[in-house]
């Protein structure tokens, strides 16, 4: 399975797709101009991207879906307001998007229903991420606040009615717009890193709900990516450098970068807009305002590949394993249609009219493999033998009866045969005797 780099731009230049290893360009998906954090792959089934407004006066902007095989937009949804950041869970059950009004929308992918919409922030939602176990949603806003939402709580109407805040934490140490937020590994003890236009990155503890570390950078950080071991993290800066900041390593203040900043990767590019880490744990991919995508080897600190996406700035870069195409080919046309998600609804269904929400069961994995337990003759035979030996069941008795009956019949036949033989013999002898007598007499 190869890993793909997928990138989109803030100007309509389509979505570019490259093989991470070879750098070969794949299919280019058409017509997309997406805001930062607005490009996701929904459980590797399809690509989804929120779109920027075509002109500032229009009140809405669509969300597009592309299936992997076709460059054209497959599904167009028109949410109530232009959606900025998008996030989806690994099952591909939900798509969550944030709007400029500060509202967060949660759609069910399989039905397209808007399951929930709530006002999360006072200003525009700028970035969204899910915690490692996907039970907490972390949202960042233009006003600098970061909130942590337990997804279960969002659907808990009773808790909501009680008037409590449904968010678990509200971090408001950032003074300006939050530009990016990522969450680290760990069940309940993970860390969250956020970057902001106040030129800092802040590290938060989810278990304690407090700030652990704040790191000041020379310029605004727009993108962050965490090293898989969480020793360091990478911060893409508007000055074109990618800074390496310490999380779990000693900070050695030899280079003059600032506190906790260890190193930087630089290729004299324009501002870094997005970062993504590959699954191999070594390759870091960055997108830049100059329209180029750079692949870095984080071990050596060298840039290993330069890919040209467009003349316009790159707004999103994501990396994921290519979906399994063989599976898709075997599907019927109808099924394929069913697998592609329906458009996302604009409004929540009112619950009053009795139409209740239904979950859609997706095909998890159709396995045609037979397990050995599906054969039954041998076990049936064994149990029947047992029955026979113990002569317990009526069936066994019946068969025994049949057997005895057959035996009896055969014995009867035998008896008949013997009888006949005997009779024959007797008659022969009698005849012979009589004949003999006759002979004697004659």
């Amino acid at each position: 399975m190869m890993e793909l780099i997928v990138a989109s731009s803030s100007v309509d230049t389509g979505i570019g797709c490259w093989d991470l290893v070879s750098g070969a360009e794949q299919l280019r998906y058409r017509s997309s101009a997406s805001p930062p954090h607005g490009l996701i792959s929904v459980s590797r089934r399809f690509l989804a991207s929120s779109q920027l407004r075509e002109n500032p006066s229009s009140s809405s902007a669509p969300i597009f879906f592309w299936s992997w095989e076709k460059p054209q937009v497959q599904v167009r949804s028109f949410p109530a307001e232009p959606i900025g950041p998008l996030v989806s869970d690994s099952d591909g059950s939900y798509i969550i998007g944030g709007g400029p009004s500060g509202a967060i929308y949660l759609w069910e992918v399989a039905s397209g229903k808007l399951l929930n919409k709530w006002t999360a922030h006072y200003r525009s939602v700028t970035c969204l991420t899910l915690s490692d176990d996907e039970s907490l949603l972390i949202s960042g806003s233009e006003d600098g606040s970061i909130r942590v939402w337990p997804l279960l709580m969002i659907f808990d109407d009773i808790a909501k009615e009680s008037g409590e805040n449904i968010y678990r934490y509200n971090f408001s140490e950032h003074a300006l717009r939050v530009t990016s937020v990522i969450s680290g590994h760990g069940l309940c003890n993970s860390i969250v890193i956020s970057s902001s236009e106040d030129r800092t990155c802040k590290v938060w503890s989810l278990s304690e709900g407090r700030l652990l570390r704040s790191i000041s950078f020379p310029s605004i950080i727009d993108a962050i990516a965490m090293d898989p071991g969480e020793h360091i993290f990478y911060a893409g800066c508007r000055d074109g450098k990618i800074y390496v900041a310490a999380l779990n390593v000693e900070w050695n203040p030899v280079r003059n970068y600032g506190k906790f900043i260890i190193d930087s990767l630089s290729d004299n590019s324009k501002a870094i807009t997005c970062l993504a880490f590959s699954l191999d744990g070594v390759s870091l991919v960055s997108g830049s305002e100059d329209g180029m995508i750079r692949v870095w080897n984080t071990k050596t600190g060298q840039m290993t590949r330069l890919l040209k996406h467009a003349k316009a700035p790159v707004s999103n870069v994501i990396i994921f394993r290519q979906p399994n195409k063989i599976n898709q080919v075997s599907l019927s046309k109808k099924l394929e249609l069913a697998l592609m998600a329906p458009p996302l609804d604009k409004y929540t269904e009112s619950r009053e009219d009795g139409v209740e929400s239904k979950a859609v069961k997706m095909i998890h994995q159709i396995s045609d493999e037979l397990d050995n337990s599906s054969y039954c003759a041998a076990s049936v035979m064994s149990s029947q033998i047992k029955e026979l030996q113990q002569n317990t069941s009526s069936g066994a008795v019946q068969m025994e009866l049949e057997r005895l009956r057959a035996e009896c019949k055969r014995s009867m036949q035998m008896v008949q045969q013997w009888k006949k033989l005997y009779n024959d013999l007797q008659s022969t002898f009698v005849n012979e005797l009589l004949n003999g007598v006759n002979v004697d007499g004659s």
Binding site: C188, S190, R213, N248, K299, E356, C376, S382, A396
Partner: protein, 880 residues
């Protein structure tokens, strides 16, 4: 020379039991000596030997490692030819026993033989089987064998996709006789295999069934409704019903069947629960299944429920209730959890409503003034209710499994349903199942779920696990006193004292929660299986939510875990090999294993302090590892490996960024760790920031303090720190805590909360918003009432604890801090509403707590007050 000799020897002898050349002669001798034929009489015991022989050695497989060996291939083929010939001739034998043997072996042959042979001769075999199957003289026994063999033949046939058409043709010939069997009263064994054959056809050759769709549905329904068969067979009927939609393979038929089943279940329930539940319940659920304005689907299985039509009046409804409902539910379970070739929508709300409906009926006259039913009816119903509840819990499990992440919108609903039920559940089997559901929910829905379930799990686990601790623990406790940390010892004493109090004068517990749980546990000791389930649920909780908002319960849970574990190993290591007389009964070894598992989770789950029981835990694992050959030893080895990382935390950076002085990292860590006060909650050992970071963090703190470089944060953290330092110097947080719901009122927790709230909420909102919070909290909406009285156990601890000191200490902070506490409590309450129901009278007391310092001071009267410093070791009051 020698090689040639060896080769010659090899030609004569076999190279061992795996030698393929062994097989043809073996098969031939089986044929010659074991298998009955025209002359040799039939002996059942010998047939068993033949069967096992064939299957162990794969005598029919004709699979050879060396294809080039033509001689072997030939020999084997002719041997199998002989076998097939003999089996076929047996199958046409007029003697019923030989005929039966032939049919059975034909079935086994179609499973075991090689593909080529199967493809070339399945038609003949099928012919032979169907002849016997349809022959009027066939006995019951032979029919059973025929069904089983046919099922195997079709199963094997399904392995060859290009034979699908042929298979469908053959399948059509079988359906009529099978349906006939199912319609006749022929006895359970035959039904069992017949429905198995039907299931095989439905799943592999669906098109053959398509025109019989309605008949099949009707037949299966009538069988389920008649409820004459035992559990296994009825499960097969329900399986048949569940895979029926696959015959059509579209969305509508799936939804229709599930809808019909739900209606059937609910109409049965309506009849059974008359007088035991609210009247409108039934119509409510029905409305959910069929929304108003929509035509209800035809009833399951056709026009009338055939089962009921000719039901003898002697069988009472309560007798039929459980088998019918559980079988139908099992159908739904299979439909929910198995893959379906098309995406379908699942009516989640009606499903959950049905579960809720069943679980809410506990056999009491629910709110009806004039009981409509006789006490006999009630008695009969109560007798079967546990089985019904168990079936229903299985149903719930299937819903959770089937929905996976899509349960999210209904998660809170399910949790509420479950926690309500958990409080009422008394029976061991039911409790065990509820624990396992809780465990499943915790693991699948993660941290968010642990916020909801923590309190419930802890309350119940404490009740189930502590019931016999006192009996056997005194010796162990005194042992432990010398070995563990001072604070821990104190904790124990406290714990024991409290326990004794509970048993002697339970009236003193104004806390209704505690009381009810205690008395219940005193009366009935939870069986091992329940304890194991409780431990597993606790393990899941520690794993998923061990450090998120867990300050209030973590210490007590850790304490419980170490006590339970040491207790379990106090006597001896259980012998796993000891024969268990009862199969279902969990052995003591399982219990020990479960305690070790939860102990590992408790040690590994991140906290802000080092676990005081680390060395005890390590000791247990070390000893356990020496129990050679047991599961416990395997697990202990694993635990030692996992804990090794805890003791030597590794941070292996990328090669590119080696820390300049690798050694100093470890040293720094050790130093800071060793010198740190482990009960000091402010200098946290952040697990994600292990090693040298601790030093860094401290450094950072210091810098912040001195330079005030963080403008937004500076003043708060400064004050915060001062506050905390003050507490540390008072050492007040070392007051140990009682178990159960009172858990949440640890002073330590307050301290944490203060620091947290100050850190997060105060800063986050500014004063204005906090005031809003305060107002919200003090609004006495009904919801708030509940949350307040949930928080009522506070009172106890304020009384016993050092809250007065605490309150006095924070005078400058008074208003804000108190508000924060109250907000937190109301959160807490609604997440995990507490056990008791009728405690409204206590409602006022906790609220008065927020009114000011005076209210709290008035509680300052118990034995554990200012002088309860951790270094004072009380004499063991329980050492009798």
């Amino acid at each position: 020379m020698a090689a040639a000799a060896a080769a010659a020897a090899a030609a004569e002898f076999f190279s061992g039991m795996d030698d393929c050349r062994l097989k043809p002669p073996m098969l031939r001798s089986v044929l010659r000596d074991r298998l009955p034929d025209e002359k040799r009489p039939f002996r059942p015991a010998e047939l068993t030997a033949v069967l096992s022989h064939m299957r162990t050695h794969g005598l029919l497989s004709e699979r050879h490692s060396d294809i080039a060996e033509r001689k072997l291939v030939e020999a084997w083929r002719s041997a199998v030819d002989g076998w097939v010939e003999r089996v076929l001739s047996l199958a046409s034998n007029s003697a019923p026993d030989k005929c039966w043997a032939g049919i059975c072996l034909l079935g086994v042959t179609s499973e075991e033989c090689c593909s080529d042979r199967f493809q070339s001769s399945y038609a003949i075999w099928f012919q032979k089987l169907i002849e016997n199957f349809q022959s009027p003289s066939a006995t019951h026994f032979i029919k059973v064998a025929c069904c089983a063999s046919l099922a195997d033949l079709f199963t094997r046939l399904a392995c060859f996709p290009y034979l699908k058409k042929d298979g469908t043709l053959l399948a059509r010939k079988v359906i009529q006789p099978v349906m006939q069997i199912l319609n006749e009263d022929v006895g359970e064994t035959l039904w069992d295999v017949a429905v198995k054959l039907l299931c095989t056809l439905m799943s592999f050759f669906p098109s053959s069934i398509r025109q019989h769709y309605d008949t099949v549905e009707a037949v299966l329904t009538s069988k389920i409704m008649a409820a004459k068969c035992d559990l296994n067979t009825s499960k097969k009927f329900s399986l048949g019903l569940a895979i029926l939609p696959k015959v059509k393979g579209d969305e509508e038929s799936f939804c229709l069947i599930i809808e019909k089943i739900l209606i059937a279940i609910n109409s049965i329930l309506t009849d059974a629960f008359q007088g035991l539940e609210e009247e409108k319940k039934s119509s409510e659920v029905m409305r959910m299944i069929v929304p108003p304005g929509k035509d209800p689907p035809p009833p399951l299985g056709g026009q009338t429920l055939p089962g009921e039509a000719f039901e003898p009046a002697t069988r009472r409804l309560s007798e039929l209730l459980v088998p019918r409902v559980t079988t139908l539910m099992h159908s739904c379970c299979v439909m929910l959890t198995n893959p379906y070739p098309f995406p379908v929508s699942i009516p989640v709300r009606p499903l959950i409503a049905t579960v809720r409906r069943v679980l809410q009926v506990d056999g009491s006259f629910n709110g009806t003034l004039f009981p409509l039913i006789t006490s006999t009816h009630q008695e009969l119903l109560c007798a079967v209710l546990p089985a019904l509840h168990l079936g229903c819990l299985d149903f719930l499990i299937a819903i959770i499994k089937g929905l996976r992440s899509q349960l999210l919108p209904h998660g809170a609903n399910v949790v509420r349903l479950l926690t309500e039920y958990f409080r009422r559940a008394r029976m061991p089997s039911i409790r065990r199942k509820v624990y396992s559901i809780v465990q499943m929910l915790l693991i699948s829905m993660g941290v968010g779920m642990s916020l909801y379930l923590a309190q419930e799990v802890i309350n119940n686990a404490f009740a189930d696990l502590t019931d016999n601790l006192e009996l056997g623990s005194s010796a162990m406790l005194s042992n432990m006193q010398s070995s563990i940390l001072v604070g821990g010892t104190f904790r124990q004493n406290y714990h024991k004292k409290r326990k004794r109090d509970a048993s002697v004068i339970p009236v003193e517990h104004s806390n209704g929660v505690d009381l009810s749980v205690k008395t219940c546990s005193k009366k009935s000791q939870a069986p091992l299986s329940v304890k194991i389930a409780a431990l597993k649920a606790l393990e899941a909780l520690l794993t998923m939510g061990g450090s998120l908002k867990s300050e209030c319960w973590r210490l007590d849970v850790d304490f419980l875990v170490i006590i339970v574990a040491t207790n379990a190993f106090d006597s001896s290591w259980a012998n796993e090999n000891r024969l268990c007389l009862l199969k279902d009964e969990s052995s003591f070894a399982d219990y020990q294993l479960a305690t070790l598992e939860v102990l590992l989770a408790s040690l590994l789950s991140p906290t802000h302090t080092r676990s005081p029981y680390l060395s005890q835990g390590l000791d247990l694992f070390r000893r356990g590892r020496q129990e050679t050959g047991s599961k416990i030893a395997t697990f202990c080895a694993h635990a030692l490996l996992a804990l090794e990382v805890l003791i030597h935390p590794r941070s292996l950076p990328l090669e590119d960024h080696p820390p300049p002085n690798n050694l100093s990292v470890g040293e720094g860590f050790n130093q800071s760790f060793a010198s740190g006060n482990f009960n000091n909650s402010t200098k946290t050992n952040l697990p994600s920031f292990s090693k040298g970071d601790l030093g860094l963090l401290d450094e950072e703190d210091e810098e912040e303090l001195s330079s005030g470089s963080f403008d937004e944060e500076g003043p708060t953290s400064l004050e915060n720190r001062n506050l905390n330092d003050k507490y540390n110097s008072e050492d007040i947080m070392k007051k140990p805590l009682a178990i159960n719901s009172e858990v949440s009122q640890h002073v330590l927790e307050y301290e944490d909360k203060i620091s947290q709230n100050v850190g997060v909420e105060m800063e986050g909102f500014g004063r204005g918003e906090t005031i809003i919070d305060k107002e919200k909290t003090e609004e006495s909406t009904p919801r708030n009432e509940i949350s307040f009285h949930n928080a009522s156990p506070n009172k106890m601890d304020f009384g016993q604890g050092n809250s007065a000191v605490f309150a006095a200490e924070m005078t400058p902070w008074k208003s804000e801090t108190l508000v924060n506490i109250s907000v937190n409590m109301s959160n807490h309450g609604s997440n995990a509403p507490d056990l008791s129901i009728g405690k409204i009278k206590e409602d006022s007391s906790p609220r008065s707590l927020y009114k000011g310092k005076d209210a709290m001071l008035s509680y300052d009267s118990d034995s554990f007050s200012l002088d309860s410093l951790p270094d004072i070791v009380d004499g063991d009051p329980d050492s009798e």
